[in-house]
Symmetry: C2
Subunit: 314 residues, 2 copies
């Protein structure tokens, strides 16, 4: 059974109530401890050989564990507040834990997030992080709420982490840093939440995550020539047709993908610019029911199967 089928199976069985503003299936849950307040909760696990390798520095693993969860909160427009850490470790290796905390707490502190609890168990290495944040309930940025005619825009650049994965240790340092030390777009998420019709972080790959951003029956046209690429990526892959698969399906970008009504573009762009975060229009939402990628010469690109599934990609 696929990951998303399993999630749907779980979702169908989970009870809810009027204090659950957003339940299973978005980047994070949104909860209302009392009317007018919204609490945002997310959890993400890192597994050895799936999300990181045993030869990675522990500090990189810690950084990544914080980053993927902070990115989920960013994609809701939430302000991160508190973290819980559930570590399953083969041994009580204090040196590894210290290194892990260097990276984990370093990134948490950067975004004013306190580690408030957790759990330690012995077993195969597994890193579970839970983050709690808060948000104005009127400004929660959801998935699946894009509107026909919306612009699609993405922060930063796409494809660096995927290129680093391909190149392994031979990849340029700045590409490797995007893979090992992604910086979640926490401030940009909060800045854009009120003006975006929908928002998601790009973790599984642009096409897969775009599929979650769109509403039922919607489609999108992506202009491949507009996909933002870093200077390093362009240097390693000078041929754009080699870059596109990495940018469309590589994943691990931890950028934010938003849909915006055209009237909101100037404000969103200005807010991101004020934060030093590039925001680039890459396409628009339509009613085609499918995602079409157009090359600069106007031809369609035949799409690879988008995204990846934790259970079916192996």
């Amino acid at each position: 059974m696929s990951e998303f089928a399993l999630i749907e199976r779980i979702r169908a069985r989970a009870a809810s109530d009027d204090r659950v503003l957003v339940g299973i299936g978005d980047d994070a849950a949104v909860l209302a401890p009392e009317p007018g307040r919204a609490l945002v909760a997310t959890t993400d696990s890192l597994v050895l050989d799936r999300h990181f390798r045993s030869d990675w520095p522990a500090a990189d693993v810690g950084h990544l564990a914080a980053a993927v969860n902070l990115s989920d909160l960013a994609a809701m427009g939430a302000r991160p507040r508190w973290a819980l850490l559930a570590l399953t470790l083969p041994t009580g290796d204090a040196v590894w834990v210290d290194g892990f905390l260097d990276g984990f707490l370093g990134l948490c502190t950067r975004f004013n997030t306190c580690l408030v609890g957790g759990n330690l168990s012995a077993g195969p290495l597994n890193i579970g992080v839970q983050l709690l944040g808060d948000v104005d309930p009127a400004c929660v940025a959801r998935r699946g709420r894009a509107r026909i005619g919306d612009l699609l825009a993405v922060t930063g650049s796409l494809g660096d982490a995927a290129a680093a994965l391909l190149g392994e240790d031979g990849a340029p340092a700045d590409l490797l840093a995007r893979l090992h030390r992604p910086v979640p777009r926490v401030e940009a998420g909060q800045a854009m939440a009120a003006m975006a019709t929908a928002m998601i972080d790009v973790s599984d790959g642009l096409l897969a995550d775009l599929g979650h951003l769109l509403g039922p029956g919607q489609g999108a046209r992506i202009e491949l020539g507009q996909l933002p690429a870093s200077g390093s990526l362009v240097k390693v892959f000078a041929d754009a047709s080699q870059r596109w698969p990495l940018q469309l399906s590589g994943g691990n970008d931890y950028e934010l993908l938003v849909s915006l009504q055209p009237s909101q573009w100037d404000a969103a762009h200005a807010r991101c610019a004020a934060l030093g975060v590039p925001l680039t229009v890459i396409g628009l939402v339509n009613s085609a029911g499918a995602i079409e990628c157009r090359q600069p010469d106007g031809h369609r690109l035949e799409l690879p199967r988008g995204g990846w599934d934790h259970f079916e990609s192996r």
Copy 2:
């Protein structure tokens, strides 16, 4: 490095702020999204061959995963509200997940707790649960806050789960149920929180958890003849001296251990009785700096090393 040394190492490095009412080191964190409100957050992981075995029914594993976390909230006096589920699974086995959910959601629903999100990953089986609850900040039941002269009392009975572990499949069904399907004392925790000076759930074993309940320099005297034992336990271990080690150090009881000023005893006992939960005085808090266990004949019992450490017990 031992589990508690690792926790202390993490605690020493974790930042905090005035919205963190209780941070690392208690049963759960207590957070104040805004003044006057308290949010309680806990996480616990179950690892194959540590906390459950591969031949356990999936529903039992799901029940246990909910129970251990609900028990942590109970020990804070909190009302459980929301759950997140981070499952790391070797395969996308829908039958196992369905069985797991039978147990997990069954117990969550019993305590009005909604599953609101989570994460699925592929890898060695690991079950991470996070629970959120709320509590009146004035009624949070902490560890380490017992006072000299307090009565020590425990809900229900002790030692059944440890006896089931010893007896494996040959153990009586009601003892096995205590191991596989413990029912956390959620209502009793809320009922006693305002009157207990300190409270903890008995998961690692009475002696180990009592050690956490006591404040610095405090000690306790336990009357072994007063340790509550189920009828089944007495039947299997008719010799009390065989029961005591199970009751003192066996763990997995998921009962609540409280310290109470003697003036609060009647009220606490009555509240538990109204819920159908036995509450038994088993000793008292003193200034001896150590835990002494007295046999009915007045002799001291030489103590086994109490509790277990996730990293040093192997």
